[in-house]
Amino acid sequence: MLIATYALSTGSERTTALVKTVILPREGERHLHGNASFTSAYVLRASVEAQALGHGLILLHSHPHSAGWQRLSDMDRNTESEYERVARTITKTPLVGMTLGGADEAWSARFWFDRTAPSWAESVRTVSAKLKVTWNDQLRGIPAVTRSQQRTVSSWGESTQKSIARLRILVVGAGSVGLDVAQRLAATGIEEIGVMDYDAVEIVNLDRMIGATRLDAALGRAKVDVAARLMKSAATARRFRVSTHEVSITDPAGVSMALDYDVIFSCVDRPWPRAVLNEIAYSDLIPVIDGGIALDTFRDGRMRNGIWRAHTLVPGRPCMACLGQLVLGDVALDKNGLLDDPEYIAGANREAPSRQNVAALSSSVSAALLAQFVSLTAHPGGRGVSAPLRYLLSTHTLEHSAAPSGPYCPYENALAVGDARTPIAEQREDWRAIVRQRSTKKATLRLRGLAAIEGILTRAIGRLK
């Protein structure tokens, strides 16, 4: 038995308690007598310490020989119920109870909002180079393995499939890489995928957004709607749910939605959104899989080199800033709109942002990001995610970065602060205006007719068993 503290991470639909600090018992505060018990003095002292830190209180105990999600015995229930009021009165936050199933290191958890009965958590996530999740099967049912998932399940086993399929995964950015990642996640059997982007499909996107059509571009359809259509078509889960977020991750509304997910793919290339995601990875302990591609050309337009990168941001692995993949000074430029200001770019003697990209190579990035995802969740080789990777196209070299985490890194040092995170996102009107304008735009009769026919065909194909 042990006491710890927690910080809250509040999403738009989900609340997470982030375990912060263990408060060890002092002499005489814990008794071992077959079962273990702690004294009220220990709970009182820990509550006061938690309150001083601005944290909530967690009572932890173990069932050494049990496996899987643990329920409460009468004795455990009475103990937690008894201390619920003490913890809530002192810390002003609900008590959390956690149980460790010792046989398989499975954690279970519950909030006590009053002393009558606990509100059970849906899952407990342990985040490091490996993401391990214990699921509460009653609240998040075991997904059925479908006929179309045979090859997938035979690759990593049914138990891994049942865990991975229940993860809520968010893809931020539905461009060439994000669209590919989203479809492959759906094909893997993930039951709930969110996609976030406020942009629309344009003709210039069609050489990279595989699956987007000329009709999508002509209608100026939202990228998230195109992603949703393609994901539904690729999905193999029996119950597949896609959430479309026509929102910017640089807005508090986008951050709030992102906090509802278990894993986030960062498929955006601008400094500001990447800074927001870099923060969430550490402040809210949500693994962020990030990467990108940079193509370099000679003056005459021929390709000189290409580099793709992939890295997973979790505690114990360096953040984007420590990797040199996010220049913090550029975030201020992006927020101020200076990266889009040709006059500023010329005056500052900067190179204009590289716009080169090729569908044949963007799939290398999505493949690299998805390989990070498999390492994070299925742990082949038992080692979790790799060190940050980069591939140099001109020399055919795959490199592991040895970049360490900087001792003064403000992102990694703000570990598990949850709702006390430094606000990087800001409420802005520009992206809202783009979404509003799209929703009021009226297409020609011909395009609307084509869209209706396409809809009928899509629905008919979707009904095929």
């Binding site: 800033a321 000074g329 430029l333």
Partner: protein, 109 residues
């Protein structure tokens, strides 16, 4: 900032502090400088961009505006490209500002 050797104080919509120039026209002078409060809401995750200085401090090439500045002050656009997370953020920022002030040129007579 105090720990980095430059105690700061609030001045309306700005935060000010003193820096000693190590080179240029102001070498050895203590120069009061600062940043807009609006630019440090996300500090240290996002460092500011603009550096406030008295209008009397001149540079060979710079972009200026007067947002958040009282009369007699301007703010200079200056890119902060520091990426070493082994240095404390406030110290890194002070080095950046000191480097900028140390390339000031003599004011035209």
């Amino acid at each position: 900032m105090t720990a980095a050797g430059a105690p700061a104080w609030a001045d309306g919509a700005r935060i000010l502090y003193n820096v000693v120039a190590v080179g240029g026209a102001l070498a050895g002078d203590k120069v009061t400088t600062g940043v807009s409060l609006a630019e440090v809401h996300s500090w240290p995750m996002v460092p500011p961009h603009w550096i406030h200085l008295p209008a009397s401090v001149a540079f060979a090439a710079t972009n200026v505006d007067s947002t958040d500045c009282p009369p007699g002050w301007v703010r200079h656009s200056r890119e902060f490209s520091f990426t070493d997370m082994a240095t404390a953020p406030a110290l890194a920022w002070l080095r950046h500002v000191r480097g900028f002030i140390s390339i000031a040129i003599p004011t035209a007579a």
